[in-house]
Amino acid sequence: MDRILKVIKKHIIVYWIFVKNNIMAQMEYRVNFFSGIAMEIGYLFVKLLYVIVIFRSGANINGFTPNQLLVFAGTFIILTGFHAGLFMVNFMSMRTLVREGMLDFYMVKPVSVQFIATLRRSDMGLFVTDVTAGIILVALGVIRMKLSLTILQILGYAMFIACGVAIGYSLFLIPQILTFWFINTSAIGETFNSFWDINNVPMVVFNKWFQRIGIFVIPIFVVTNFPALFILDKMSPLYFAWGLIAPVVAFVLVRLLWKVAIRNYSSASS
């Protein structure tokens, strides 16, 4: 146990160094940094269009009021911050790492190869923009509904956000791992990435079968819907249990797949 804690502590320290280095690197190219934020605000605006449609139509969507749907939209935007700011910047460069044999350098480092290959880069501009905007939307929804939240509800919401982050990381890393076998997986990766936007609308919009597939088969709906369901007190015991089990299952699966994939790595260009 002591050893595991030491390993975790080491990885947290290393991650903090990565973040600091990334911020320094981004500050060198300020136009890139600020135009990246402008771009993310543009995407944020597109996400808000879905909220505008629901609000202006004035309809309750399958039992959920527009204010409740605002909480779903805000949660989706918070998790987009993690997805775009912390993960995708790494996942996109995975092909280059494998194709050009650059993974060799990471193999000799005293930290996990998966950790360094999938988390070394971050874009704090995107992360902070999305997380801030998402929190504002969630708060707005909660205030408009006049909900009084307990500490337990806020902690539970944060816990399901963490679970969503873990599932999002695992789910979207899988198509990138295929790069170890197929080298060029850009089409698969890009098509799969567009599925992130499926959470632009709450899962209650889809029919029952899509919801079941999106929760239990490919748990994409678990990522952004479960925290909102929890805070709105609309979570069934089954969803509560699955919300805690799914990230563990997804993470273990992706870890096993990574280990198999790394055995297949042939260090092509070095």
């Binding site: 605006f45 629901i54 399958n62 890009e190 936007d197 499926i198």
Partner: protein, 269 residues
């Protein structure tokens, strides 16, 4: 060489480019399936739960038709030359046009149109498929007049969108770094063009402001013409406005280019 041949060569270069990257266009169309899928479910919920047969001025069949056709149109009129223009300005690529018998603007326009002729083949197949699916699933009927007006307005939208993004590209003369500026501008313009949702979702006040801008004439107008939201004199009026905007922005693009090219210092090349 006949003077018209130079334009034909540029047109052919555009066609060759599009042929080479035909899979890219196909994939971009494929990526449109996800927003169509999401929005269709959203509209089903909105119409079912609101109890109204008309929402934001559209019937259910019209809004689904809008969702599908707007995605196709926005991908068809899309430009991809901003990064090339940036590269030509920053790395001295414009130098070669000093000795070439064709101007940079004409070359880019002919290339763009050549590219779109190839894309048109994919577009027509998908368009016919979508119309047939909409007809048999929702009973959507498109009149001959709407189809003819849509075709004319689509050609004009293509030219208008080219000119808008050519104007945006001239920013490269003034900015040292471009970063993601083009992408940010593109997202805003697509939204204001009605490429994601019909503009009526913003309400009448915002729509009256957007009416004064050229953007809605690139996507919202042709799609509304096709689904018979705009008919008769409204079509003629809209087409005249499109032509008016094309002339204005062409003039503006030339002015920006002339002023900007004075800052060009022919680095490298």
């Amino acid at each position: 060489m006949r003077s018209s041949n130079k334009y034909l060569f540029s047109f052919q270069i555009g066609m060759q480019n599009a042929m080479e990257y035909r899979a890219n266009f196909f994939l971009s169309i494929l990526a449109a399936i996800v927003p169509i899928f999401i929005q269709t479910f959203l509209w089903i919920s909105v119409y079912k739960n609101s109890g109204n047969s008309v929402v934001f001025g559209y019937s259910f069949a019209q809004i689904i038709q809008y969702t599908v056709i707007a995605q196709l149109v926005s991908r068809f009129v899309r430009t991809d030359f901003e990064a090339e223009i940036n590269d030509d300005i920053k790395n001295g690529g414009l130098n070669k046009f000093i000795v070439r018998p064709i101007g940079y603007f004409s070359h880019k326009l002919c290339c763009f149109l050549g590219q779109k002729v190839v894309n048109l083949v994919v577009m027509i197949i998908l368009f016919i498929t979508s119309i047939l699916v909409l007809k048999f699933s929702l009973g959507v009927v498109i009149t001959g007049q709407a189809m003819a007006a849509f075709t004319i307005s689509l050609i004009l939208s293509l030219c208008l969108n080219f000119l808008i993004f050519f104007c945006v590209s001239t920013l490269c003369f003034w900015l040292n770094e471009i970063g993601f500026i083009f992408e940010a501008v593109r997202i805003i313009i697509i939204t204001l063009s009605g490429g994601i949702f019909p503009l009526s979702i913003f309400g009448s006040k915002v729509v009256s402001v957007l009416d004064l801008m050229p953007f809605k004439y690139t996507i919202n107008f042709p799609v509304d013409v096709l689904n018979s939201q705009i008919m008769g004199w409204g079509i003629a009026r809209g087409l005249c406005i499109q032509v008016g905007w094309i002339l204005c922005i062409a003039l503006l693009a030339n002015i920006f280019w002339l002023i900007g090219s004075k800052k060009y210092i022919a680095v490298g090349g």
